[in-house]
Amino acid sequence: MNTSQSETIEQVYNQSFAGYQSGINWRDIFYQSAIVLSGGALIFLIILLKSKTSVEFQVEPYFFSYAIFVTTFLLSRIITSMFYKSSLKTLVAENSSGQAQLDDYEPKVAFVIPCKNEEQDIGDSVIQCYKIKYPKDKIEVIVVNDGSTDRTMLILRELQKYYPTLTVIDWPENQGKRWGMAAGFQVSDAEIIIQLDSDSSLDPDSFQELIAPFKNPEISAVCAHGIPKNADKNILTKMQTAYYFMSFRILKAAESTFNTVFCCSGCCSAYRKSDVMPVIYSWLGESFLGLPVTWGDDRALTSHLLKAGKKTVYTSDAIAYTIVPERWKILLRQQLRWKKSWIINSIFTSRFITKKQPFVAFFYYLPLVIISFLTPIMTFRALIFIPFTKGTLPLYHIAGVLLITAIMVIYYKYLDAKNKYWPYLFLWSLVNLFVLSFVIVWAAVRIQDRGWGTR
């Protein structure tokens, strides 16, 4: 064996696991705590704002409790997310049988791409899959042509000539995305299945990081870090880019600390086939109030895995690209779907999570459920009810929301100093406050409308 080559491997190994010291990284925590302290100063300002109102008006105990609750909750998210790397590191190291095996771990992977009338993008999607840095003989791509009426099938047949491992399942009638995914799971003989939306793709260089956590057999699903491809398109996509970063790197990372990511995103998640198969029929048959659930497949699948006692994690080292809505109308429809699936799934998840993960349930999940349903009420009260009945503008409420966002932004900047989208997080939280916080109400009203409202 060539010595210089082994050194290179050693270097690569050292690099990719540079941050992965064993155990808790106290130094990092110290610096991160300093950030939390400056966040504390901002909280002080928030408290100051809240107490200001009490001089002129009657004290509002419910509102205060809510404000403390929400602020504490968001802080707990930031702090929990600080532990995510050390948690993931120890989890992966623990049950993989010996360090020597680390580099050798290269199971067969399959991409499942359900598509319908995607003649524009499907070719590119497939080609992207084959570009990943992974042994070619261990890559399989399965495209489920779900009743396309355009030239999608034609393109796929053409592609098959170049990629012998490309499997095409051709359905003359549309069955729905969920069935397409399931078909992929069943047809493939790969150990790891990556579900990809037709407009999503994985970063070829960091693909290995998505597979690495599966070394621990307890891990059933890994969620990559999602980045919008069309981030610079307009202000709306910039806001979503900031939101995605926070949502993945802080919120999902926090969930991952306890190995319970509640939604391995549809755009970029890998699953262990052997863990998915036992729950696949239950997942396929998901229904709510007598009607089948047609959206939120990713969230539903993740929660079925969690119900089965499996571990789901997030890794910021694997990057996936996706497309975010560029127009308000589309964004609102997407949000409506997501909120609907959140409502349905929160009922499903609340039923088992207290038994399977009591700490996570009481420390995170149930508070999250409470907050997501309380927020529209409190927002309505602050933005509409109080201004109309007492004639006072909701300036303090808005200032409070912006200050909480500021705490997020501080941590955001710490995590990725080069990320230029952070100012848009303030805009997003305003949009969220004025518009999106009410979407959940509309979602609850239209819960029985299982249509997609077009994507």
């Binding site: 155990g23 808790i24 909280i43 107490s51 009657q58 403390i68 702090i79 623990e94």
Partner: protein, 541 residues
Amino acid sequence: MHNFNLKMIKIILVILMLAVVFVMVKGIGLLKNNYYWRTPYFVMQYDFIKDKIAFANYMNGGISDWFRSSKNISSSQASQEETAKSIPVLLYHGVMKDPNWKLDDVNISLEDFRQQMFALKKAGYQTITLEEYLDFMNGKRALPAKSFMLTFDDGRKDSFYPVDPILKVLGYTAVMNVITGRSLGQENEKGSFHLSQIELQKMTESGRWEMASHTENGHDYEKISPSDNAGHFLSDKLWLASENRMETDTEYFDRVSKDLAASKADIQKKLGVKALAFAYPFGDFGQESSNYPDSQNILPGILRKIFPVTFYQTRGSEFLNNYQGDPFMTRRIDMKSEINVFSDASAKNLVNLLNNDMEKSLDYTDNFEKNNGWLQGWGTLAFSKNRMTISDSPTDDSGMTFLGGTYLWKDYFFQVRASLPKGGAFALAARYQNEDNYAACDFTDIHVAFAQRAGNKDEPDKEQLMQTNLTNGRIADIGISVQGDKATCYLDGKPVTSGVIETGLENGGIGIKMWDINQMKGSSLIVSDLKVMAALPAVQK
């Protein structure tokens, strides 16, 4: 390893989050209750700077005056040698910062208040504390001539927040009369109108505020009969609805005693200071009682044991200032009623009022170019062309005025030139203390009489029947002399009748009264060339 780590993380998280919740709950509680962390604190600091600039500008010194201490300004203006003979006490309620506030009978706008305080400061007036006041009244302490006391009733937030920065700028102190049941009660911290315990504590600590009582729960309108809800807690017997009867004397006594004692105890216990004074709610010390006039005699018995000083609002026919002696019934000038009498430019008039109310020395002459301190008892009063005109008013069939700053005068001869162009009658008063205590010479068309009132009872007139011809509008020299216990009435420079002055009227000022005769409305007395001489007039002829 992993599970151990997770356990550690969980423990750390729970501890951290509990700490966060604790800090936030505690923090909100602290900030809410601690006046210094409230936004008004910063507003007050801002107001302080604004007031400081405004005062510097007011003193025509501009910014450079900032660096001069406010004490220098006052000492350069106030006369150092003179000492106070009397102390005026001013009463304010709310000071309204809101520019949209509409004028009412109780409150004053911040701008007016600021101008009044600046004007007083510029004129050399300085506030005194209750203790200084007590010592002065008891003859134990001399005070600068231009001393006064500032009081605020009801313990309202709006008589503290806008006012304190001004006091700080001017180096003034004030007395806050607190309704302890409202400010120091259990619900106090929630209220937005009355000052809370913490605020009162901070005020006390600032050294600018003294605490006094305004009853515990005695400032509400009470049910005093099955139908009447407008009774006063202190001066009326209450209707006991549950027993369908009125209070007995004992019950009234117990109720009032308990309330007053409790208010003092509350201030002592919760603010750590001794309340030296008490202010009667509504200024009612029993004189306004609806169903228990005897309360006027009972209340002093209760109050004297608790407070050395009680405040009431001076009425029209009383001198405004407080003179050495018993401080128990201390008069206050209600800034909403007294000042309005005098006019529109309130700050200037307030200074004039206090200046004119300072002790005048004998001999005294008044050419009536302007009002030199004539206080209006009732009726109407006007000054023009070196004449003072006293008339009746639509509501009064007489008019009365007396001269401020003359209360301590003893022996003197008081002479005016007077005429009654539209008929009527008039009297010159000497040793005037208030409308129930004075000596006077009455002049009508048909007689001259020496009359006096002492301690609320009329003494028989020493009457001299004579044709005076005063109602035909002729101008006559009229006079009254008081020497020791002897009073003499003068008409056209000659003594016409005399009498012996009752005890209790050893001192007092001068006053003039006119009244309609035979329901003939519209008469008035025109007065000019007023002279008051310490020496007896040379007896003519």
